[in-house]
Symmetry: C2
Subunit: 341 residues, 2 copies
């Protein structure tokens, strides 16, 4: 591989500068993406067509010169492969016409091995992208954490509180564990195939970890993430990004993971102190910093890099917002690439 | 006052049990509220009619036997009094047809003293409720923190990220401070009149503090909250509830406040360790616990009370969700009232 900086850092090596990529770097910030997207029926056509997914995955590598590509896909392909189809509604987000309401709904889900077979379009996209990248940068794969996936499967759509999904944790904890277990098994089968197809690192997104108390996170979310990470770690490094789970950083670091993703509300020094200087971390510039004038983008990026020091993968603390100016994104990437420890 | 338990705890006294109330206790959880609401044109009619606001404020004292009433109102009456009217759209939330976009928009806002004069219906509701309560329990007043109010005034509606409001912090920090300053002055004038009308304690809600990094919270939010608290504290105790600002608990405690409100994601022992055993805290049961069977509601409430120990005002870690079963709310209140240190 020509540029394996990110993988070396993920495995604990010291390097002369941090690698850099952005969550949601393949997407609406790029005119090339918007051009392709405008020709298609919808978001899912892009996700489900390997040639198109490959093309938009490589766009940010060409345009931004980032140190990694991340396969263009969606965390919701997993519940769909398990039998719950979703629709992606413009400006509103995902909606599941059918949701999980009782034990029978869980028992009727497609079993792990078969569900993973339903996701060939993802493995094809990974294999094609791996070939097209031709070793320029690592190719990252990802999945949602079981709790986050469960939240959508029960709630049926995004929510500020996910109170319907959380109702199951409190009223039917055994049912919740049964569902979490089914999601975990499918996710493991899926990610092993994704790695076999060529993914060089896997990131687990627990996007809704922040709605859980520390106890509930450690009961209903982290143990399942840990099982997934354990299944993958002999093969590839694993990043866990449990957004807003500030209360459980040492537990996350201990859960078979190589890299801990940090949201922008975690103060760098505080996060470091929770996990030690040697823990590899990823993040965590506030995505809104990229609305600033360029000298300020540069200044705040440099401040973050200095605060983290080595064992750091530079990124934002959340996916880049779609209306972020491209020149600010480029300024962020270039600032990291010019930085030296 | 017949039951001044909450005020004694807020001022630092040790008592034999914690006082209890619930954020949003006057609202859709009560059949009496739903009955009144069904007869009205909308939410704002309730807020703006002192007799009705008084009636729904007292309902939870009658029905739940809580240790405090909180005046039925909305944090958005302040921006409205400053010149930005809002509409409350069912199942969607508040919408401001006009928003703050430039310096002239800020200069055109109604000045503090005049804006505070526009809120007579609130003072009338407070005075009437105070009279009707006849000393049964303290009457709490509240306002939004300036950053939260600013977020609505710039964004024009609720948002997961408030990225448009935050854009102003990064691109036009001086304009943001100008707006925050105007909101602060109006809020102080408003709250002084609310206290004069009879409010016994004031709670400041920074509902959107969680979208800010620690640095930004301490630059754009906390100093303004601190100014408000300083203006009120000679008169009444002040509670600051900056939801999700886990990174700044010691700073919040030091900001002229009597009581620090905690969301449910703050582990009790950790929160206590940040601020010391003597700091009065309020919270923090996960509102979703009230979806549990009653024995579990009781168990988890008792666990929370034991974990906090004295110098604690029992509450949820967020406003009670509208679909919470009334028997679970009663079980929560009764459990606290039976508890002894």
């Amino acid at each position: 591989m020509k540029n394996d900086l990110l993988l070396r850092v993920a495995r604990g090596e010291r390097t002369e500068r941090p690698p850099v990529w952005l969550m949601r770097q393949a997407g609406r910030i790029l005119p090339q993406y918007r051009e392709i997207r405008s020709r298609l029926s919808g978001f899912k056509e892009l996700v489900e067509t390997p040639e198109l997914a490959c093309e938009v995955t490589i766009q940010p590598v060409d345009e931004l010169d980032v140190d990694a590509a991340i396969i263009f896909s969606d965390i919701l392909v997993v519940p769909e492969a398990m039998g719950l189809t979703y629709e992606m509604i413009e400006a509103r987000g995902p909606v599941f016409p059918k949701v999980i309401e009782c034990l029978a709904d869980i028992e009727n889900l497609i079993p792990a091995a078969d569900a993973a077979e339903n996701l060939h379009y993802v493995y094809d996209a990974v294999a094609l992208t791996k070939k097209e990248l031709n070793g320029r940068v690592p190719l990252l794969g990802f999945a949602g954490a079981p709790f986050t996936i469960m939240a959508y499967m029960v709630e049926g759509k995004g929510s500020k509180t996910f109170s319907k999904a959380k109702q199951m944790l409190y009223r039917e904890p055994e049912m919740a564990h049964k569902l979490l277990n089914a999601i975990t098994e499918t996710t493991i089968a899926y990610l092993l195939k994704k790695v076999a197809a060529g993914a060089d690192l896997i990131q687990i997104f627990d996007s809704w970890a922040g709605v859980l108390s520390a106890d509930d996170f450690q009961t209903f979310s982290l143990p399942y993430i840990q099982r997934i990470a354990a299944a993958l770690q002999p093969l590839v490094p694993v990043t866990i990004f449990a957004k807003d789970a500030f209360h459980s950083l040492p537990e996350i670091a201990a859960a078979n993971c190589n890299v801990v993703g940090l949201g922008w509300t975690i103060p760098v020094a505080w996060g470091r102190a929770q996990m030690g200087e040697k823990q590899v971390v990823q993040g965590n510039l506030d995505p809104c910093v990229l609305y600033s004038e360029l000298p300020k983008v540069k200044e705040l990026t440099n401040n973050m890099l200095k605060a983290f020091g080595p064992h750091h993968i530079a990124n934002l603390g959340h996916g880049v917002y779609p209306d972020t100016p491209l020149d600010a994104v480029k300024c962020f990437v270039d600032t990291v690439k010019e930085f030296r420890y």
